[in-house]
Point group: C2
Chain length 145, copies 2
C-alpha cells in the first residue's frame, strides 16, 4: 500500500479575468482567488489558506494513524493552525506554523501517553516535513465527562 514515490496531480486553470479553478481526478473542484490582503475578494480559498489547510489536515490524520497503531482510544481532535507569511531576505514565505490542538479522550486515558502521541503526530506530518518553516505545537488533552 505504501510504495514510494507517490504522485499527486492538480490542475489550475484561469482566464485573464475571473477566479482560478482547481481540479484533480474524481474530486469536487475548488474555486480559488487571492486573499483580500493581496487584492482578492472575501470568501474564497487561496494558496495561503490551502497550504495552512494541508498542515492542519495532515496533523489530525497523522494523529489518527498513530493513535490507531498505538491502540489509544480518543473521542475528538481539533487542530487550529495559524500560518505566518513573512518576508525573509525580500522573499515572501511561510516562516512559522502555530498549532493549537485540543484532544478529547475518555475517562481513564493515560494523558501523558496522549500528549506523546500528539508530539509524534507533529513529527510525522509529511506536509510540515516538506516545509522550511518552523512548527510550534501547543496541545491540551481534555477528559470527557
Amino acid at each position: 500500500m505504501q510504495e514510494y514515490p507517490h504522485h499527486y496531480t492538480v490542475a489550475a486553470t484561469v482566464q485573464s479575468e475571473g477566479h482560478v479553478l482547481l481540479e484533480s481526478a474524481a474530486l469536487t473542484p475548488i474555486e480559488s482567488a487571492p486573499p483580500p490582503e493581496f487584492g482578492g475578494p472575501e470568501g474564497y480559498w487561496s494558496p495561503e489558506t490551502l497550504l495552512v489547510s494541508a498542515v492542519a489536515d495532515c496533523f489530525v490524520l497523522s494523529f489518527k494513524a498513530i493513535a490507531r497503531a498505538s491502540s489509544m482510544n480518543w473521542i475528538s481532535l481539533h487542530c487550529e493552525v495559524e500560518g505566518v507569511l513573512d518576508r525573509v531576505e525580500r522573499i515572501s514565505q511561510f516562516t512559522d506554523f502555530n498549532l493549537r490542538v485540543t484532544l478529547e479522550v475518555p475517562a481513564g486515558t493515560d494523558e501523558e501517553k496522549a500528549a506523546r502521541l500528539l508530539e509524534k503526530a507533529e513529527n510525522a506530518c509529511l506536509i510540515t516535513n516538506s516545509l522550511k518553516s518552523a512548527t510550534h505545537l501547543n496541545a491540551i488533552v481534555t477528559i470527557a465527562k
Copy 2:
C-alpha cells in the same frame, strides 16, 4: 495592502470515526480524508492534494499579478502540477514539483517576454518558496487563432 507578516488560520476537526472538516472564516468548508494509497476512500481532497493545489494556485495567481504589472495581454493559463512524495532518510516529504504550463496569448504577443514572465511567476510563488522541494517548470506559449 501588503503589510507583513500576514496570518492565515484554518481549523481541522475530526472524531475517531469519519472524515476531517477543514474550516476557515467565511470560506466553504472542505471535507477531507487520507488519499487511497494511505487507506482513505476515493473522492476526497487530502493533505497531499491540498498542498499540490496550493502550488498550482499560487503559480497562476503569481503569473496574473506579474502579467498585470508588465501590461502583458494573455487569454488563458493552465498549470498542471505533479507533486512527488518520497522518502528522504526515512522521512516522507515532497521532493519535487513538476509544473506543466500552457499559456495562450493573442496574436502579436512577444512570446519570449511571455516565457520570461512565466519563469518570473515560478520564482515569485510564495508556496514553492516555503517548500524544501525542487520545482521544475515546463512551459509552452501558444498563440490564439
